[in-house]
Symmetry: C2
Subunit: 341 residues, 2 copies
Amino acid sequence: MSRRGERPSPETLASLPVAVDAMGGDKAPVEIIAGARRVASDDGIPIMLVGPPGLVGDTLGLPLFECTEVIAMDEDPAGGVRRKKDSSLVRAAELVRDGQASAMVSAGNTGATMAAALLRMGRLPGVIRPCIATPLPRLGRTPAVLVDAGANAECTPAMLVQFAQMGAAYASARWGTEAPTVGLLSIGEESTKGTPLVKETHGLLVKESGFEFVGNLEGRDLLPSPADVIVTDGFTGNVALKALEGSLRFLFDAMLGVFGTNDETKAAADVLLPYLLPMAAEFEPENTGGAMLLGTDGVCVISHGSSNATAMVNAVRVAFECATRGLVEHVAEAVLPAQGG
Amino acid sequence: MSRRGERPSPETLASLPVAVDAMGGDKAPVEIIAGARRVASDDGIPIMLVGPPGLVGDTLGLPLFECTEVIAMDEDPAGGVRRKKDSSLVRAAELVRDGQASAMVSAGNTGATMAAALLRMGRLPGVIRPCIATPLPRLGRTPAVLVDAGANAECTPAMLVQFAQMGAAYASARWGTEAPTVGLLSIGEESTKGTPLVKETHGLLVKESGFEFVGNLEGRDLLPSPADVIVTDGFTGNVALKALEGSLRFLFDAMLGVFGTNDETKAAADVLLPYLLPMAAEFEPENTGGAMLLGTDGVCVISHGSSNATAMVNAVRVAFECATRGLVEHVAEAVLPAQGG
């Protein structure tokens, strides 16, 4: 349930700062603050850093919401949020809840970020469990969205149907995708393949009307995905996403190794790199704007733990755009009709 | 339970032919027979083709075990095996069961191949469910093994422990790996992460002594895997494996697209391709020898549905090597002690 009253209008949200957890991530606070400063000056997006004054140092004009605690990257998420009520993560979520920020962004402890957003902003009406939506590149097209990319290791068919609804709303709000297509991740195209969870979800998705269900997809369909939204449980989604990240990194590294073999290969690589790098950039998590938590009553972007300044710039952009385009309203509307049916 | 009496000795197995399903796969029978001929002449491995005489055509000296039926690639596996008692798949499995072949190889209907092997050869004593082991490349090292790569969408912790045992026995038999290491696929390194299945399996693997359990692995650890064996349920394993295959193909295709941009990039690519192709070859499923069914009382290699002659050569080699190195005995011994404990 929402803990707030009326949601702010898009105009109000555009005037509110994005709350940036200055202490979240392996490269915090230096890279986080650098990214926040850059996106504030380049894009004019209002920023509110959240962190302890001593640690943050010179914020060079960015406003700072002061707090006294930090939840560590490897800290128990639920316990951290419960105990550290004055932590940067909890305070950032409260700023959104209280209508003082349009969205929150953190590259910190993923579980704690989810817990803080869930406990402080609350779930949207009818949402069983929030999920994480992660973009998957489709060279030259808008990315596809994988839901759930890791929030819920255990899922029910009703949860997966909501992930589809929320993922479709996200694709519409973020990329303007009209009539998003949705595929269900399984181990064969036939509706009879997969676990009981997948088979039952398949039967439910066929009856949904808020998007076009294109049936089951397989692991090999993830890059590039023929559907705008790929639905799966958070365990499978997390394994698949990390398998993709790992294999692409493995192959890029192996390729760079080959390029450095001798002078001739180095010269050839110099010719090709200007063409290869833009392609590689599409696969870089730092350029995709991070993962979006869907189903909470407020926008929360979860950036990669290894986020640098560029990753923060993109994460803040995505958070700001989605907040001002009414992502929360879209997700709320996508889920609600199913509750009456 | 085994349907046979004494297992043949390694010497006897080396003298027996490998039963090759001439009708299995998208490129059957032409590429299958071409591969069988090549491996018979190059390696001196005895071959017994299994297929209808009219369809097989000129086998050029290879013996043919005649049958009258074929199970189609998209046919219902269990129904096909039950109804088509004189199919090439069923007859190939019977040749192994009856001690007339050392192993069977098929690029046909995966489900039907598993069903035929399971129903005709039988399970090894104590094996709950057979699983599929698929090699994952580790450039310049022996491959790692993913179990289960898709045989069982639903698993219990006891099944996953057996997959670990059987996977370790396979690594030893095929690559001579001493004291194989085993990792459990999850969504975090901590033993508290993952589904109830993963958490309970983690607790059981810690107590196993037939291999070294290195703890949880994540999707990004699949390429290259730090463990010799990666254990997971068949749903997650199949999704992850196909995600890897798909992403590598996607990236290779994208790279080739870049290479063809203009005359300058084409010339540069000509320099690099001799170095890149051997690397790409390590990722090609046709070179890995296919997937191995573990837990049946006889060797069964499941080759990719798109297998060409080269894929068949490698699949037959793997089948012959594993049969003559006593893979079935190793797997039986790996599983049995657990039954007494």
